[in-house]
Every structure is written in structure tokens, then in C-alpha cells.
Symmetry: C2
Subunit: 323 residues, 2 copies
């Protein structure tokens, strides 16, 4: 390979640098030198994507660049944080200039939309592509959305239409088929998830708990329940199912996909009853749906029910490594 | 595999948490919630280690845990930063409990010595072990050690005895042989580098530029020269060579190893003449050597000379990915 580690970093990453006022020194020294926001808490989150595990080795690099940042911005959204900086550890089998150019195009298009600056990176050779991205954001003290604040009686909400990404994934594995005419929108939901930054910010002081949905709504809501020491009842007939999902699967399969499909990067959150009017006013300004799907209970565990009160049995589809 | 991603993280990482006062929320939510130090700049640095590229797949996991953190703390040292937090993206072929236990032992032993708290992580399955660690530290405004401040006339210094780690690596590849009786100390210099945190802190306000040596003294000094727009003369007979290195190689080979071997994680830095007395007083308290090896020149480029002024020709051994 002609390109050295250093020229790779310089050409593709350092050259694309933004000039945020809170970055004293970006890529190019032993470390980045950053100016935390006075009086704010720093939120950091990282997610690693591995070829053959989280994405197909032949996946569109532009989509991967987008998704590597999106899944981390989604975590910031779930904390109610304003995004600021990202760092990237990139392991590549070869210094493929075309791949890198397209990867950067996807990464920086999303970064620019959310005013995120890439401030550090490490690019190394390795047998498999690994993309480990860390995002950094800020939130005022006491306003971070955590998993452990849900209380009995709180309403449970979800943004967007979970299940679409799961349908795309199931289709890729030959276990489902996207209805004709819906392929593009469903595929985009898997490859180009839109981090719910604006909803996350407007949930500060409103939501009692929040999480982003990566492993499936049921499993991720379960994290809120365990951390908060509560349970929940979810009405599966209230789940916001997309036209694409309903056209592709029967209603129970669609609900199962929405509950257990994973890779949605929607927010699931809880809101105390007395703040629901405020929430509904806030959500009217969002560019995604916001749907109440159930309520927090004192009794532990997650109960899935139909409108008639009968139990909905979930076939578990949620994604878990090392299983 | 029996252990799920979540129980892996919980059992090995979250359970070992320290309780730093500047961590509001560590592992277990969508992100960590951290309290930056008022009036200080945040330094972040990340390095990824890949099996088969940066370490042998069969390497001692305890040493790997140490080294993954050490190489990043070394970058903080080279910035003059006080370490605070770390995050870890870990890709493993299998959830090997014994490996993880030993990896954590090495990682947390070093973390505890430097009061570093692991605040976030992502553990996923993948075909090859990848360890991407990010370290976070703090430095007062204006006191960070950068690469771009060296001025003609500044003295050039190095900590410790570079070349030992390179000798261990060359031995592993069958290209050298550690002299009998020195194997343990040389091997430890490769596997358990000691980040020069205390020297880095005491260089605040003293050094005009600094870098840590990962790719070889000559190559890394070259980064200071390019970023500062200067050159240097290094007297190869002043290089601090360890007894082990001198016992294992002839003198020119030993100097070459010290200049180009890499993996040292020593500091190379420059100091203006008027601060040299202060430096020497500060360095007397360090637990490693501090040796003046040359001077910064206005003329660009790195000149290696012997005591008689003749040129020393360097066979390049420095390590670079994608070469």
C-alpha cells in the first residue's frame, strides 16, 4: 500500500475539519484539546460496528459512515445531550481510497447537519473492518435523560415507527419480504437511521426516563424497567406501525417486528402524567411521530396486551452479541 | 456462548468501577455523564490495538489490558494532561471469561495507579480481537504540551531508554536476540510500558513541544519538526541506551534501535535554553532518566551525527500501518 497511516488520516479526516469554537486543537497532535462547556455535564457514548456482525462487508460505505455516527448521536439524543465532538477508531483490511472517500461523505454529511466536529482518530490495518466511534455532547446538570427515573403511572412513548429497520434486516436474511414499492424507504430506515436529537433535547425536564432502541423496543424498554425498578404494560395495538411494515407483514408479525426487530434508533421514553400536555405540545414540533404505547406499573416485568386485554406473546427477535 | 453482551460488560467492567467525584453516571446508561473540571481543557486521545498487527493473538491478556491503557495514558502524558477517564470498545472472537478476567486485571491495575475510571464501553463479537481505548484528561488553558512549539536553539530531550521495546519486537520476529539475563526487563519494556505521566505534568510551562514515541524516536521527533517548521541535530552518541540494549547489539545497531525501533512510549520533548536549569531540577524527581540528545535548528530536516560530527546513517525500522 502506498498510503501511510498518517497520510490517510490527513487526507480524509483532518482535511474535513469543521471549526467549532470549543476545539482548541483537533486532529494532528497526541490528543485533541477541547473546551468543555462551562457549567454543563459532558456525555460520552461509544459504539463499535464490526463487518459481518453489524453490517455486511459489502455494505455501502456512505451508509456506514452515516450509521456509525448516527447510532452514537442516537445515544446522545437518548441522554438529552447536544452533540459536539466525535472521535473515530477505524480498522480496515486495506487503505481503499474509494471506500474511505465514500465513508467520509456519509459521516461528514451527518456530522455537518448536527454541527459535530471529528477531533481525533486512529486508522490501522486489520483483517476485518471495525468502526468504533465515540460521540461527545453536553447537557445542563440535572437534565440528562437517564434510564432509572421511570415511575408507576408514567406514560410510555416511542418516536417514529419501530420495526422498519428490523424488516429490512429480516429481508436481507431471507426471512421476510418488503412489500413492493416500499423497498427504498424500509432500506433507508436500516442504513440511514435519523438520530432523534431534537426530540431528545425537548424531552429535557419532561421525560422521567429514556433509552434509544437498538436491540428492539421490548428489550430496550426492559432496561428502563430494570434500572427504574418498575414494570410496564404496553398495548400492542397502539404501536405506531409504518405503512411499509403493515403492507409487508400481517398485523401480529408487524407488531412483533416493532417490538423485537432492533436497529430502529428511535427513542423510547416515559413521561409523568402531569407533564403529558407539555409533551404533546413539544412533540407537535418534531419531524417524527410520537406515540403513547403504554404505562409504567409498580409490578415488575413487561406485559404486552391487545386492546381486549388478552396477552400478546412475543417471539424474541432482539439482537444480542455472544449469544 | 452463554454470556450475553450485557452480562459481560456488567461482570467484568461495571463491577470494577471506581468512584471518581467527577463521574455522575458511569457504565450502564446510553452514555456516561461526566463533570469536566472547571476552567480546564479536556484532552482526548484514542489508540486501537489489533490482534496480528499490534500484538500477537496469543499475547498475555494481562499485558494487553495494561498496554491498551498505557499507550493512551502515554499520549495524555505527552500533552501534559492529568488522566481522568477511559472508555473501551472491545471486539472479541468469543466471550472467553479467563481472557477477560486477565485483561481486566492488567487494565485496572494501571487504571487504579493513575486514578482512571472506566466510564463507558462496548463489547461485541468479531473475528479478530480489537481493543480501541480512549483516554480523557485535563490540562489548564495554555499549558498543554503540543507538537508545534519547538524553536531553533531548544534542547531536545528523551525520557528513559528508547530501543528496548524495539529489541523485544525484533527478537520476537527472529531478527535480533536479547542478551542472556536481560530477557525479562526487555520483554517488560514492550509489554508493560510505563506511561510518563509525572514527567509530562512537570513539563507544563517548561517544554516548548512534546510527543510520545510510538513509531520510533526519529520518526516521532520528525512530527515535532514538521509541525514546528524547524529542524534538528541529534548526537547519536548521547542517546541513552540501556545496559540490555548494549549487551544485545553492537553500538550502531543499538543506536539504530533507539532511533527507529518504536513502541517505546517514552517522551521526546524540547526545552528553551533559558528553562534548562528548571528542567534539570524537575527531572531529578522523575523515576526515569532524562537525557539531552540534541538541539533544534532553523534549517529543516533531522540530522543524526556522531561525536566527531560525521553523519550517522539510519536504517529505517519505524513502524507504519498500510505500508
Amino acid at each position: 500500500m502506498a498510503a501511510s497511516e498518517f497520510s490517510l488520516i490527513d487526507r480524509h479526516f483532518a482535511a474535513r475539519r469543521r471549526a467549532r469554537a470549543d476545539v482548541a486543537l483537533g486532529i494532528g497532535d497526541d490528543g485533541a484539546l477541547l473546551l468543555p462547556h462551562a457549567g454543563q455535564q459532558l456525555v460520552v457514548t461509544l459504539d463499535a460496528l464490526v463487518a459481518g456482525v453489524h453490517f455486511f462487508a459489502a455494505a455501502d460505505p456512505e451508509g456506514l459512515g452515516h450509521k456509525a455516527l448516527a447510532v452514537n448521536l442516537s445515544d446522545l439524543a437518548a441522554m438529552g445531550a447536544t452533540p459536539a465532538w466525535a472521535t473515530l477508531a477505524l480498522v480496515l483490511p486495506e487503505a481503499d481510497e474509494v471506500w474511505l472517500e465514500r465513508f467520509c461523505r456519509g459521516l461528514f454529511a451527518l456530522a455537518d447537519r448536527h454541527d459535530v466536529q471529528l477531533v481525533g482518530g486512529d486508522t490501522t490495518r486489520g483483517p476485518t473492518t471495525v468502526i468504533a466511534l465515540q460521540a461527545h455532547g453536553f447537557v445542563p446538570p440535572g437534565l440528562a435523560l437517564r434510564r432509572d427515573g421511570a415511575q408507576p403511572g408514567d406514560g410510555i412513548y416511542v418516536t417514529g415507527t419501530p420495526g422498519d429497520a428490523g424488516l429490512a434486516l429480516a429481508t436481507a436474511f431471507g426471512k421476510a419480504r418488503i412489500a413492493s414499492g416500499h423497498e427504498g424507504v424500509v432500506q433507508a430506515r436500516l442504513e440511514r437511521p435519523e438520530p432523534r436529537i431534537a426530540p431528545g433535547l425537548s424531552l429535557r425536564g419532561l421525560a422521567s426516563a429514556a433509552i434509544d432502541i437498538s436491540d428492539g423496543l421490548a428489550q430496550d424498554l426492559g432496561h428502563i424497567l430494570r434500572r427504574s425498578g418498575v414494570g410496564a404494560v404496553v398495548d400492542v395495538e397502539r404501536l405506531p406501525l409504518s405503512p411499509a411494515l403493515l403492507a409487508s407483514l400481517d398485523r401480529d408479525e408487524a407488531a412483533t417486528m416493532a417490538l423485537a426487530g432492533g436497529d430502529d434508533y428511535e427513542l423510547c421514553f416515559t413521561v409523568p402524567l402531569e407533564r403529558i400536555a407539555r409533551l404533546e405540545r413539544a412533540a407537535a414540533a418534531w419531524d417524527c411521530r410520537c406515540t403513547r404505547i403504554g404505562a409504567i406499573t409498580a409490578e415488575p416485568g413487561l406485559r404486552l396486551v391487545r386492546a381486549d386485554g388478552s396477552e400478546f406473546r412475543l417471539e424474541r427477535l432482539g439482537y444480542d452479541h455472544f449469544r
